[in-house]
Amino acid sequence: MTSNLESELFVFLLATFVGFEVIRRVSPLLHTPLMSLTNAISAISLVGSIVIAGAAKSELSTILGTIAVVCSTANVVGGFVITDRMLKMFKKREPGK
């Protein structure tokens, strides 16, 4: 087992625990924005797609990488924008109403 692999498993384990703890505290009120935000965040797979699309190692990898960049970018852009659009609508009662 390489040390790389070991530290990666550690990271995965710890991030999963952090995820459970943080997400458990999100109010059910915001579960829909939560899903669109985590979706945008996991579209970080964009960074992997970028390297493959730009490395020009083979025709196939460039094509697959470019399609992957398209899909991930759509999620990054769309995910953050719609999350913010939803959150903007959550307002407290106006005083005097």
Binding site: L5, V11, F12, A15, T16, F20, V22, V26, S27, L29, L30, H31, T32, P33, L34, M35, T38, N39, I41, S42, A43, I44, S45, L46, V47, G48, I50, V51, I52, A53, G54, A55, S58, L60, S61, L64, G65, T66, I67, A68, C71, S72, T73, A74, N75, V77, G78, F80, I82, T83, R85, M86, L87, K88, M89, F90, K91, K92, E94, K97
Partner: protein, 462 residues
């Protein structure tokens, strides 16, 4: 070398930003800050990646950015809030597809150099990625009514699905041990794509909240697996966060529908259990808008119980008017939100917030259930099974054990409903036959409109 340090720095900063982003999302007052810091993290990571030494040409990256934004932006800006579940299903498909394609590209680039572990992670990435892609597309089709939202079931379905999945796993294991057998790779891809379709076909519309959460989790896990393949810890962190979020949400949805998690994982869920036996004809008390408005006017406290029917009838803005009128008269109006109200977790809250109903009036099930006995009127709009008292006491009922809103404990119950037809689970709701229940027959939007007219008229007259 300096470039490697720079990339590492941006990735660590991005990982921290993502955790903070989710932490701030926990409350509406800080949630938008959460989005900002998430965007910042993403921007940093992208800039860091663009200086990567392997990148020799930016042409296709740029094309991808432009096309991706052209797809993602309109979907986010113009999608009506009732269609957010569809958009979410699509974005799960996009995310999973990207992961699957990257996995495929990596496999063909490094076929000879893959270690056993990398190959295992790669297989997981590709299997989860492809099955989530088609599964999410099926979910999208059902939500968008392109496909029948009723479950499509046939004999031996579980056996067929599970054996298909077993074959895919078997081939993957063989490939992990013999990575050079590249002719087997397309087999895994095709089987996974097919399995995704078969997995979602038997699931009905009302189970979409669970399905979407589960697909969310799978999409996250495929991104994490991609992190293992590419030796990229940021991807592992983000994928793990997404995976655990989807997992938590699916557990919450399962509990809210009283299904076990195993039940969900093995795909035997979402089948309509038809209650046997004819539904007996019993008398119900129906009332006109005038009568209902008079009772609402005299009430001190009202709890509105919205269901997906309200959203289908586009009644939420009329409901807001009703809320305004009653609140101005000093009536305490609250909204009781069942966890599975809507087509995805939290969907109903978004729909009501869009109609400008303040979020501190939206109350969760556990919190509001003790209030029902002290409430004058419970007004049910487009909700059915989640208000059926049979879930509490009738062990023979298909929904027995499902947590419900204790609407029947309010002093008066009003139910706006088109007709007496049974709900999704195909069972009669005994709530409708209680002495204190008034059935208000009609379309949700027009009936609430009538109520608003009555109340506004009385106000002018007074």
């Amino acid at each position: 070398m300096i470039e490697t340090y720079f990339i590492q720095f941006t990735y660590i900063a991005a990982a921290a930003a993502f955790v903070l982003s989710l932490k701030w999302l926990s409350h509406p007052t800080t949630a938008r800050r959460g989005v900002r810091v998430g965007e910042l993290g993403m921007a940093l990571a992208i800039v860091g990646t663009l200086v990567h030494h392997e990148i020799v040409s930016y042409q296709w990256i740029l094309v991808g950015f432009v096309l991706g934004s052209a797809i993602g932006l309109p979907l986010a800006v113009f999608m009506p809030m009732t269609h957010v579940p569809q958009r979410t299903a699509l974005s799960h498909a996009f995310g999973a597809f990207a992961a699957a394609l990257v996995g495929t590209a990596e496999y063909y680039l490094h076929t000879d150099k893959l270690t056993t572990f990398t190959m295992a992670a790669l297989s997981l990435e590709v299997i989860l990625g492809f099955l989530t892609t088609t599964g999410s597309l099926m979910a999208f089709g059902k939500l968008q009514d392109l496909l029948p939202s009723r479950p499509l079931v046939y004999r031996g379905q579980n056996v067929v699905n599970l054996s298909l999945f077993a074959v895919a796993i078997g081939v993957a294991v063989y490939l992990v041990l013999n990575p050079a057998r590249s002719e087997l790779f397309p087999v895994i891809a095709v089987l996974s794509l097919l399995f995704g379709v078969l997995l979602i076909i038997p699931i009905g519309g009302a189970d979409m909240p669970t399905v979407i959460s589960l697909l969310n989790s799978y999409a996250g896990l495929s991104a994490a697996a991609m992190g293992f393949v590419l030796d990229n810890k940021l991807l592992i962190v983000a994928g793990a966060l997404d995976g655990s979020s989807g997992f938590i949400l699916s557990v919450i949805m399962c509990r809210a529908m009283n299904r076990s998690f195993a039940n969900v994982l093995f795909g035997g869920f979402g089948q309509v259990q038809m209650a046997a036996g004819a539904i007996e004809q019993r008398p119900v008390r129906s009332a006109s808008p005038e009568e209902a408005a008079q009772i609402l006017e005299a009430a001190a406290s009202v709890i509105v119980v919205p269901g997906y029917g309200m959203a289908v009838a586009q009644a939420q803005h009329k409901v807001r008017e009703l809320y305004d009128l009653l609140t101005r008269r000093g009536v305490d109006v609250k909204f009781a939100i069942h966890p599975v109200a809507g087509r995805m977790p939290g969907h109903m809250n978004v729909l009501l917030a869009e109609a400008d109903i303040p979020y501190d009036r939206l109350t969760e099930m556990e919190e509001i259930n003790p209030d029902f006995p002290r409430t004058d009127v419970a007004l049910v709009i487009g909700a059915n099974d989640v208000t059926n008292p049979a879930a509490r006491h009738d062990q023979g009922s298909p929904i027995y054990g499902m947590p419900i809103l204790d609407v029947d404990r309010a002093r008066t119950v009003m139910v706006i409903k088109r007709s007496m037809s049974p709900g999704f689970a195909g069972i009669d709701n005994e709530l409708y036959y209680m002495d204190k229940t008034m059935m208000l027959f009609g379309d949700a939007k027009s009936f609430v409109g009538e109520l608003v007219k009555e109340l506004a008229g009385a106000r002018v007259g007074a």
